[in-house]
Structures are given as structure tokens and as C-alpha cells.
Amino acid sequence: MVDPISAKIRFEDVSYAYGKDTVLRNIKLGIPSNHITVLFGPAGSGKSTLLRLINRLNDLADDTSLTGRVLLDDEDIYAAGTDVAALRRRVGMVFALPLPLPGTIRYNVLYGPTLGSIQKQADLDSLLVQSLQRAALWDEVKDRLDSPANRLSGGQQQRLCIARSLAQQPEVLLLDEPTSGLDPISTAKVEESLMELERECTIVIVPHSVQQGARLSDYAAFLLMGELVEQGPDKQLFTAPKDKRTEDYVTGRFG
């Protein structure tokens, strides 16, 4: 267990259901600040749902129920009066498929900042460069910032989406199988930039394979059918799992 003091995000007995379908059961989890936390498990284990609870992206879904508390910096993000838009500016998210917004590369990266407070052109320009550099995309697009984002390759689009999230200067970055549609070279680039990023922000990732999880993990949690089976620091879950089910999964006996 992570020491609760240093946890950036904490799940306190969280259960979650779509209608009568319970997808998460009594989750107790602390996500350490400025590290990469890997959430893994077979399909349907509730990883994505858990991730989407952190930025309240499931708010618009009908007929869901949440019990327990989700805390960000010790504050309940589901408390009445929470500014959801502000929360989502602090907690960025990258999806499995690259989702460039309709518009240019520049428009995509600066989408978040222009929605919010930053209006000065000089600030926006430096933010644009910085975000693209941190997402390891700058060199490839610096000459065509005003061309449509959907002309980029899949790998570039995904890094563009990462840059878009980084332009918000988020405290937390959520990634839901961000490399599932990418080739190995692009995947390596994305992973590299994630390892750079953990110094300045808290990263929670659902990896697209156990191997990727093992490569990135500073802290890991294994989910199975909505239950949190095991969690532990570093690569412990991948090298020396305590629970038989975790061991079976990471050694490829099922899943």
C-alpha cells in the first residue's frame, strides 16, 4: 500500500455500477504522486471505468451509481459543487484511438488553453512548442503547424493528443491503452516521453499488454472482474506476484 500521505489520488471503497451491472467492487487504491501507475487486467475488469472516474468522464452516462469516495489531493472530486471543467484541466486524458479534433495541429494543441484562461499570443506560442516537444512530436511537425491534424500518421496523431493534454499542464495524466493502435517505433517514442513526464506529473496508464505494463510500472494494480486483486510498487506484480491469480495472468495462463 502506498502511504496515504504521498498519494495523489485515492479510491476509498469505491464501487461503481452501470444500471444493475456492477463493474467495480470496493476498490481501495492509492496512486502515488509523480510516478507511473499501471492498471492492468483482462478485458472487462473495470480498468477503463476506474480511469474515467478520475476525471469524471462518466458523468454523462445514464443510470450509473457510485459509492465510496475518489480523492484528488485529499479532496472528494464527486463532492457537490466541484467544478468539473476545472477538474478535467488538472486531469488530462489520452484515449486508445488517436482523436484529433477537427482543425489544424496548432488548434489541437492549444484547444485546452484557449478554452480557459491563457490568451496572450506569446504564452500560447511557447506552450505550443513546449507541449509538442514534450510529446516528442515537435521535430516532425514544426514546419506544418497549420496543416490539418488528420493528415498526420496514426502514431503522430496519438502523440498530438498527448501534446494536447500536456498543453493544459495537467497534474495527472490518464492514458487508456494509448499505444494500442501504434506500431512498435511509435510505441517506444510514446513510452519514452511518458518516462520523461513522470517527473512533473502523476501518470495512470492502462497498458495494452502485460509487457508494456511491466516496462512502465512504478506502481501497479491488478484488476479482475471489478475487484482489485493485488497492488504493489515497482515491478513487484510482474516479477513476484503474491496472489495466484495475478501470477496466472502475468505469466500468460489466461487473459
Partner: protein, 299 residues
């Protein structure tokens, strides 16, 4: 099996030929209609020079065939109708698709489709008995049968088309794209106008073009409510005066002309004009879609 194969492929060929005939005959019919229009209409220019045809006086019994008032009349009514219908239609589509709760959407969608099915004569009644008196008394026009009355009715007729096509376009925008915007801290409102609507842009352009095509080609309702005075709509108050459109002119006068007369040919020339305008509108809509497809996907 081996024996049946030639027979099966013969049947295949027969079906293929049948489909080809069906497909080509559609194109053939469009071509034939156009050829017919040209053949009946173009000779008018031997009798009425093009300069006179674009004159400002339409008075066939006296030998004046200036179609400009009719062209401008159609243009005025259509443009005003589009200006009214487009923002309203797009906002309705956004409401139906993005904001309305599920049960409201389930009610609204069929209701809008029923609206599209109302015969234009019925809307003409509505225009004559409700909108025309309102225009006369409230806006103080000398008569209620004005360009504005026609434009309002046309807007009403174009709305269902615009709404349902635009709504389909919005519906085709993947939910994940909305999620991506929301996850950036955008509000629902910002997401709609900055992401969903731009992503559906080509479909919305199509919706506008189809609505416009509907408006410019409409005859019956327009004939009933615009007053049909062939005057040049160039003064500031033209919107509140009667106008006459191309379509209404053809419909009203076609029954009374002698086959092959100059008047007859002039009406066909108007038909050619109308055909070209609608063709151009459809072409614009189509090219907007194809350009989008070439760029990779309809989004």
C-alpha cells in the same frame, strides 16, 4: 455443380444487365429532360434577344419577356428563407441530437419527419390564413401576400430537410471525439460548437444545400402567398411587397399559352434557368462531400 455453373453465371449476367439498364435509364432520363427543356426553350432567343430576356418587365401579352423581376423574386424569397431556416435548423438539430433528453428526441424525430411530409398546398393555406394577415396587421404592409410571407413558408418547408440531414451528420460524429473534448475541460457547450459541429461540417453543408434546393424549386405554396406581382424587388421595402418567382410564373402561365409560341418558349427558358440553378446547388453540395471523402473519411 459443374453443370449449373454456366447457367448461374448467365443468370448473373442477366441481373447485371437489368441493373445496368435501371441505373443508366435514370441518367438517361435526366439527360432527356434537360434536352427537352433546351429544345423547347432555347428557340426563344431567336425571337427575344438575351438582353431583352434579362429586361425588367415581364408582360407577355404585350410582348415583354424581361425575366429579371422573376429571377430576383426567386432569389429574394429563397435567400430570406435560407437565412431564416439555416440557423434555426442547425440549432434544432443540435438540440435534438446533443441536448434533448432521450424521450424528447424520440418524440421530436418522427414529428420532424411528419413535418416534411405536409403537402405544400396545406402550408399555402397556413400562409394565406395565418401568416399573411399577421404580416398585414403587425408589419403594416398594404397586403399580406408578400415576399416575406413566402420566405417564411419556404423556411418552414426547408426546415425538416435541414434538421434531419444535419442531425444525421451530428449523429455520425463519434462519441469518443466528444469525450476527447470534454476530457480537455471543455464544457458541453464548447464541445458542441468547437468540436461536434465542425466535425459534422460537410454533412451540415449538404443539409443547407438540400434545404436551399427545396426552397428554390417550391411552387405551390409560394404561388399562394407571394402575391405574384412581377415587379423588380429592388426597393428597401421589397420584402414587404408582393413578388413573383420563376416557379410560380411557370405554373400560373403554362396552362394558358399556345404551344410553340414565344411565351411558351420563354417559360421553358425559365425552366432551364431553374434547372441550372438547382443543378449548381446540388453540385456544390456533392463536391463538398467528395472533397471531404478524399481527405480521408467523412469527418
Amino acid at each position: 455443380m459443374g453443370k449449373n455453373k454456366p447457367a448461374a453465371s448467365r443468370a448473373d449476367r442477366a441481373v447485371e444487365a437489368l441493373l445496368r439498364v435501371a441505373g443508366l435509364s435514370t441518367i438517361g432520363m435526366v439527360v432527356l429532360i434537360f434536352v427537352f427543356l433546351l429544345q423547347q426553350g432555347l428557340p426563344v432567343f431567336f425571337r427575344v434577344p438575351l438582353r431583352d430576356f434579362l429586361g425588367t418587365r415581364w408582360y407577355p401579352t404585350e410582348g415583354y419577356y424581361g425575366a429579371l423581376p422573376l429571377i430576383l423574386g426567386s432569389l429574394l424569397v429563397t435567400v430570406v428563407a435560407v437565412v431564416v431556416a439555416v440557423p434555426l435548423g442547425i440549432c434544432t438539430a443540435v438540440f435534438v441530437r446533443e441536448l434533448a433528453p432521450g424521450w424528447v428526441r424520440e418524440l421530436l424525430k418522427p414529428a420532424i419527419e411528419v413535418l416534411a411530409g405536409i403537402p405544400s398546398v396545406v402550408l399555402g393555406f397556413l400562409g394565406m390564413t395565418v401568416i399573411a394577415p399577421w404580416v398585414r396587421t403587425t408589419l403594416g404592409a398594404p397586403t399580406g401576400l408578400t415576399a416575406l410571407t413566402g420566405a417564411v413558408i419556404l423556411a418552414y418547408m426547408a426546415l425538416p430537410t435541414i434538421i434531419s440531414v444535419a442531425e444525421d451528420a451530428l449523429d455520425a460524429v463519434p462519441k469518443s471525439l466528444r469525450d476527447a473534448s470534454l476530457a480537455m475541460g471543455a464544457t458541453r457547450w464548447q464541445t458542441i460548437w468547437k468540436v461536434t459541429v465542425p466535425a459534422a461540417r460537410s454533412g451540415i453543408v449538404t443539409a443547407i444545400m438540400l434545404g436551399m434546393g427545396r426552397a428554390i424549386g417550391e411552387t405551390m405554396a409560394v404561388m399562394m402567398v407571394t402575391g405574384n406581382a412581377a415587379r423588380m424587388p429592388l426597393t428597401a421595402d421589397s420584402l414587404f411587397r408582393p413578388v413573383r418567382t420563376i416557379t410560380a410564373t411557370i405554373a400560373a402561365e403554362m396552362g394558358e399559352v399556345a404551344n410553340g409560341s414565344t411565351h411558351y418558349q420563354a417559360l421553358f427558358a425559365l425552366g432551364i434557368l431553374l434547372f441550372l440553378v438547382t443543378f449548381l446547388i446540388n453540385l456544390t453540395a456533392a463536391s463538398a462531400i467528395f472533397a471531404k471523402r478524399r481527405q480521408g473519411g467523412l469527418r
